[in-house]
């Protein structure tokens, strides 16, 4: 039996059961994510959006389940998101485009993957505050960026992190994934990447010949 993270990685790789859905393949639920047991008996989550939601309606964050982060947690979420995706000359910061609401909705959701991420994120928040208190006597969000970065530097790469920091490093990886998910799915995120697709066209021309020549692919 593989664990959930492994199966999700599998589906990221395996997304083209459906090339048509390639672009949004990651985090698709795949069947192994269901609890083990001989009888597969799925009942709709009474507090989720159900198997037949109205797809045309626009939904605010928190429309289907209440957001649960406290004010302090939201401050910490905004601080950390903006350390990961700060404002630059191309685009605003993560928190400026609603990523805190995205994160709050994510970790407040009733589904198994999100509940697992909730534990990871809230444990990670607690670790950050403990670490900040220990170093500077203040919660993480109250520190200066110059004090926050050394803490992040120790956990930003699981491959380099100390053995006793593997769990915080896993948290940082999850949190960076979620921040990027929230940011790059917004209009501002798409603009940052100079994404120009998903517009109705009368014909599809493919890439310019000059580019193919430059790449040696003409």
């Amino acid at each position: 039996m593989t664990d959930r993270r492994t199966t999700i990685k599998l589906i990221v790789a395996a997304a083209a059961a459906f090339p048509a859905l390639r672009a949004r393949a990651t985090y698709m639920l795949e069947p192994g994510a269901s609890p083990p047991g001989n009888v597969r008996r799925f009942e709709p989550t009474m507090d989720g959006y159900g198997p037949d939601p109205d797809l045309i309606k626009a939904y605010a964050k928190g429309a289907f389940w209440p957001l649960t982060m406290s004010t302090q947690q939201r401050q910490l979420a905004a601080t950390l998101s903006d350390l990961i995706i700060p404002e630059d000359e191309h685009s605003p910061s993560a928190s400026a485009v609603g990523v805190v609401d995205f994160l709050d909705e994510w970790i407040s959701a009733p589904y198994p993957l999100q509940r697992e991420d909730r534990a990871t994120v809230l444990n990670g928040f607690a670790w950050l505050d403990r670490e900040a208190q220990h170093r500077s006597g203040q919660p993480f969000a109250k520190l200066h960026a110059a004090q926050q970065r050394p803490i992040c530097d120790r956990i930003c790469a699981a491959s380099r992190a100390a053995a006793d920091l593997q769990e915080p490093a896993q948290f940082f990886a999850t949190y960076r994934n979620l921040t990027a998910a929230g940011f790059y799915t917004t209009l501002a995120g798409r603009k940052d990447l100079k994404y120009i697709g998903n517009v109705a066209l009368t014909h599809f021309d493919g890439p310019p010949v000059e580019l193919l020549e430059k790449l040696g692919l003409a």
């Binding site: 090339p19 795949e30 047991g37 198997p51 799915t185 599809f204």
Partner: protein, 600 residues
């Protein structure tokens, strides 16, 4: 009003069709166009693509950035509603339930069934695929040849609209040269594959998908498909004019409100309904085919999912197109004195020879594709090119440790960013955050490519379905119990996929996050992941060795037919939907012929 209920139905009907997806939609289309009165029963709800498709909705507008959940497995905006690997109130049993030896069963309880969800890849089976046992001694032959089905592939391609190159290769046939629409232009990552894969002896062909890359020829196609039937020609011409060519935008899986791609609800059902010969009852969960004293099917029983009432509807003939395993389930649950083990099961083979597609995937990162200028890589939403199986002769000479092949579905490019696009980049970025992370995201965006092998499966005795003696669904209908096991051939094939994809990525100058998987048990996706299950009511040459004859007509009950993938005695690497439609059209022509001869 063609959508009716058990009490407002307008019988008598000539044919009852159970299901509304690819096979059922095709049967309803073919029969209704020739004046047959059809009652279609769909287990799920009414669905109108034109009003319900969330075409231009973007991930930021959905809960969780459109990530899949147990409620909507393929993402919030996926066109499938009330469907997935788990359906509320409709359990199934898998024995044993351990990794690699369980089966997960995708269903879609909605009008149009699974055609609202599929990838629309439309490959023809080739001549070898109909006679595999004759070629290598394994599995089962079909009782028909490629030449029997080829005219129906032509017709289906013309009707539904399939893009692709009219290029033939060994066991990879194309039509007469005018049945396919032009393929989309390749994107940069496609050009790289086209340049490098041939260096390894691996061919690259235009992909084939059921998407209109230009308007259909409504002036000549109706006459070709319905010679001598001016009314059918007019109805089809009108229906074709109502379909728009592809907008080169939006994911097909979110549904197509302009009917540029094939869904049963936008292509098969509108002209069938326009004939006035089709009535549809939705929310009708069929559980039994009823038998008259004369040994012929006289109707079906269903539970009205809205009221819970049990209903019985009748007709001169019954077509089951409920999806391969649901059709087997209905037959196994249709027990009578004459058929104590289930209807049309005198062979004992209903539920046997169940098959799926072998799946295995590898992704890579290509430095040449980093930091490219802005590009619209949408094309028609995927599969501009693909790799057909290329080692038939090597297999025939026993140079490979597995007898049957696979094709490769390939993708890349700057698709719309999703919640997963920038997940797990540490292996490339070294764990960057801050402005460096944003720079890295720009650099790597569009530099990933994906290879998905889709391979043939040889039937084995350890994979079968039966009725569970205890568990029932919310309607009180006994459920299926799955037994599933991949054979050594499939597992070795999956390892070959992994190694080959690694070699191609290397030839493209790319890199892998982790080595390819060479453990045969782990290289292969579990049963049901590919959603290509077929078999269970297989066709064959005689009543002892199969459930239906070459016309998809059950051996035991002459007016009972199977229109879905249940009749496949072999699942080639080619995605099954196009073949399901071609066989359903062929079956329907046979029904018409027998009706004209007063045999039905």
């Amino acid at each position: 009003m063609p959508f009716v209920t058990a009490s407002t139905q307008r019988g008598p009907y000539d044919v009852i069709i159970v299901g509304s997806g690819a096979g059922s939609g095709q049967a309803a289309y073919t029969l209704c166009m020739e004046g047959v009165r059809v009652l279609m029963l769909e287990a799920g709800r009414q669905y109108t693509s034109a009003h319900e498709s969330a075409m231009f909705q973007t991930p930021d507008m959905a809960p969780l950035g459109e990530a899949g959940t147990p409620d909507k497995n393929k993402g919030f905006y996926d066109a499938t509603v009330n469907g997935g690997w788990d359906v509320p109130g409709e359990p199934y049993v898998s024995v044993p339930d351990k990794w690699g030896a369980h089966f997960t069963w995708w269903r879609a309880r909605m009008l149009g069934g699974r055609t609202n969800h599929w990838g629309r890849i439309s490959l023809r089976n080739g001549p070898y695929d109909f006679k595999p046992r004759s070629r290598d001694g394994l599995g089962l032959d079909w009782p028909i040849t490629y030449d029997d089905v080829a005219p129906y592939y032509d017709k289906v391609e013309l009707l539904i609209g399939v893009y692709g190159g009219d290029v033939s290769r060994e066991n990879t046939p194309a039509g007469p040269g005018d049945t396919l629409l032009p393929p989309p232009k390749p994107i940069v990552s496609d050009h790289l594959l086209m340049k490098r894969a041939p260096r390894l002896g691996i061919p690259v062909l235009p992909g084939r998908r059921a998407v209109l890359t230009r308007a259909q020829d409504h002036r000549t196609i109706p006459g070709r498909l319905h010679p001598g039937n001016p009314r059918a020609q007019k109805i089809l011409a009108d229906a074709m004019r109502k379909r728009s060519p592809c907008l080169w935008a939006t994911p097909c899986g979110q549904g197509c409100a302009v009917s540029a791609n094939y869904q049963s609800t936008t292509v098969h059902l509108p002209p069938a309904l326009a004939t006035g010969n089709l009535d549809v009852i939705t929310d009708a969960m069929v559980y039994e085919v009823t038998l008259g004293k004369d040994g012929r099917a006289n109707g079906v029983r269903f539970v009205d999912a809205k009221t819970g009432r049990h209903e019985h509807v009748t007709a001169r003939a019954v077509v089951l197109g409920a999806s391969a395993f649901e059709t087997a389930r209905i037959l196994l649950n249709s027990k009578s004195g004459q058929f104590p083990n289930g209807l049309a099961n005198s062979s004992g083979l209903v539920g046997r020879y169940v098959l799926d597609t072998v799946g295995s995937s590898v992704g890579g990162q290509i430095p040449l594709l980093e930091s490219l200028p802005p590009l619209n890589d949408d094309a028609a939403d995927g599969l501009q090119v693909y790799v057909p199986w290329w080692l038939y002769q090597e297999q025939l000479a026993h140079k490979l440790p597995f007898p049957r092949g696979y094709h490769i579905e390939y993708g890349g490019g700057k698709g719309m960013p999703s919640v997963g696009t920038f997940s797990g980049l540490e292996w490339l970025t070294g764990g960057s955050y801050g402005k460096k992370f944003k720079e890295d995201a720009r650099r790597y965006y569009g530099s990933f490519v994906y290879f998905d092998g889709r391979g043939a499966m040889v039937p084995n005795d350890n994979s079968y379905i039966e009725i569970d003696p205890k568990v029932k669904d919310r309607f009180g209908i006994p459920v299926l119990r799955f037994h599933w096991q991949w054979g050594d051939y499939e597992q070795r094939q999956a390892v070959h996929m992994q190694e080959t994809f690694g070699q191609i990525i290397e030839a493209m100058g790319g890199r892998l996050q982790s080595p390819v998987i060479t453990d045969p048990v782990k290289a292969i996706a579990p049963g049901g992941y590919m959603i290509h299950e077929v078999g269970g009511t297989v066709m064959g040459a005689n009543a002892r060795s199969s459930v239906t004859n070459a016309w998809s007509q059950t051996w035991d009950v002459p007016n009972l037919f199977v229109a879905d993938g249940g009749v496949f005695p072999y699942n080639a690497d080619k995605n099954p939907t196009l073949t399901i439609m071609a066989l359903s059209w062929r079956m329907s022509d046979h029904i018409l012929d027998r009706m004209r001869r007063k045999e039905l």
